[in-house]
């Protein structure tokens, strides 16, 4: 477990460092107020979310191909952490919208994409939770994860079809016009790295947990059988 603890410490340190830069070092964006700094946790969470989603889909594909239980465990964990990250994106995006334009939801295509992806991977998590036996439901869950990624291009294009996007509503993500100050860029990209590290660590721990839990479930079944039907 030592390696995992170091990994966790590293990820946390990176996050703290980025928070320092984001909150204290980076200059305030002109005309937007302090709340603009939410970008430095909003966009990085989105990076991490996509990372998790692609890992989940990739692992699912490997599982369907090789039927490797390790791939399945990775997929399940990545999807769960991905949902967590998506939630962060949606909540911070909502707070930002409320602060800036007095609207808890903005028809931004990127936010819509994130919302739909959140729904897709929540359904993945629910399927795993209520779909019965792990090994049985695994291929079906894998299909969900892969379909989610396949839907991304369609979601992106169709989100832009909605409601003729009013330019001023689109919140600058990686700074549409480019973040001027180098410290701002540091906060953003450093934040992306930090959140990816955090997500990677969470997925690693969650995958280990999944392996142990499944093994214990198997042992429990064996124990029940050994004692006779109790």
């Amino acid at each position: 477990m030592r390696g995992m603890e170091w990994f966790g410490a590293l990820a946390s340190a990176a996050l703290v460092a980025v928070l320092y830069v984001a909150l204290l070092v980076a200059p305030e964006a002109v005309g937007e107020g302090a709340v603009q700094r939410i970008l430095y946790i909003h966009a990085p969470s989105a990076f991490a979310a996509y990372g998790c989603i692609f890992v989940a889909a990739g692992a699912s594909a490997v599982y369907l191909w090789k039927r490797s239980p390790a791939a399945d465990r990775l997929a399940a964990s990545a999807a769960e952490v991905g949902v967590l990250m998506c939630t962060f994106v949606l909540v911070t995006g909502s707070i930002w919208g409320r602060a800036r334009w007095n609207a808890w939801w903005t028809p931004d295509p990127r936010l819509t994409l994130m919302l739909i992806l959140w729904a897709i991977y929540v359904s993945y998590v629910l399927l795993r939770a209520f779909g019965g036996d792990d090994e049985e439901i695994a291929p079906y869950a894998a299909v969900v994860a892969i379909a989610g990624v396949l839907a991304i291009p369609a979601i992106r294009v169709s989100s832009r079809l909605m409601r003729g996007i009013h330019p001023s509503v689109i919140a600058p993500r990686d700074g549409g016009t480019g973040l001027a100050d180098p410290y701002m860029r540091l906060a953003l990209w450093g934040g992306a790295v930090a959140m990816l590290l955090v997500a990677a660590w969470l997925v690693t721990v969650r995958t280990r947990l999944e392996r142990v839990e499944r093994e214990v479930r198997a042992v429990r079944r064996a124990a029940d059988a050994a004692e006779g039907v109790v």
Partner: protein, 221 residues
């Protein structure tokens, strides 16, 4: 591909004899349209804007119910085991179920769509050819996803809830594009809906292909 035709024939024959799916889903569709039209009670000016969303809400609602039955049939008396044992390519099973679903859904739509026009007092006749195209494209995409996930959920006790839960988020882009395309068809014309139709076509291609590739992977067990 003879297998595909055989399965399609079998399913359609069952449907023809019992008429259970088409009748129940068509009636449900009518009820839904009635409720939506009556509840909203739009002014004559506002009514045309309602046609597209009402039609597609009805398509989704009835579609989810109708598609369930496709694999439910197979579970009875373990027909699925029989199908797996037979030297049939699993993709044939998927294609067959897909075709049957598209057909049955189209039949339901043939009833529900004119009725929507009736209730909302909107003239749909001038747009029929384009409307048929849009409905077809949307239905194929819907069926591609729904058929795949109907197989996934048919084994679950919670299937009635899990199917919409899994399918609706994935269908969002299709629905957005379908509604936009339908609105364009009823208004300025299909030409203005190029982007929306593009989304429909690419969605169809992506997800029919996905279904063809993924279905064999999950039927193996």
């Amino acid at each position: 591909m003879r297998a595909v035709l055989a399965i399609v024939r079998k399913d359609l024959l069952i449907e023809w004899r019992t008429r259970e799916t088409v009748v129940t889903t068509a009636v449900l569709g009518i009820l839904l349209v009635t409720v939506l039209a009556v509840a909203h009670d739009p002014t004559p000016a506002a009514a045309p804007a309602l046609v597209a969303p009402v039609v597609w809400a009805a398509v989704v609602f009835t579609g989810l119910l109708g598609v369930e039955r496709g694999f439910l049939l197979e579970r009875e008396q373990d027909c699925l085991g029989g199908l797996r044992g037979a030297p049939i390519d699993p993709t044939a099973l998927y294609v067959a179920k897909l075709l049957v679903n598209v057909l049955l859904l189209s039949v339901t739509q043939a009833v529900v769509v004119p009725l929507t026009g009736l209730f909302l007092r909107v003239d749909l006749w001038h747009a029929v050819p384009s409307l048929v195209v849009v409905l077809f494209l949307g239905t194929v995409g819907f069926a591609a996803v729904a058929t795949l996930f109907a197989f996934v959920t048919v084994r679950l006790r919670t299937r009635q809830v899990m199917l919409p839960l899994l399918v609706l988020p994935l269908l969002m882009p299709l629905l957005i594009a379908a509604v936009k395309a339908t609105e364009a068809v009823l208004g300025p014309g299909l030409g203005t809906a190029r982007d929306a139709v593009g989304v429909l076509v690419s969605f169809d291609v992506i997800f029919v292909t996905a279904g063809l590739l993924l279905f064999p992977a999950i039927i193996r067990d």
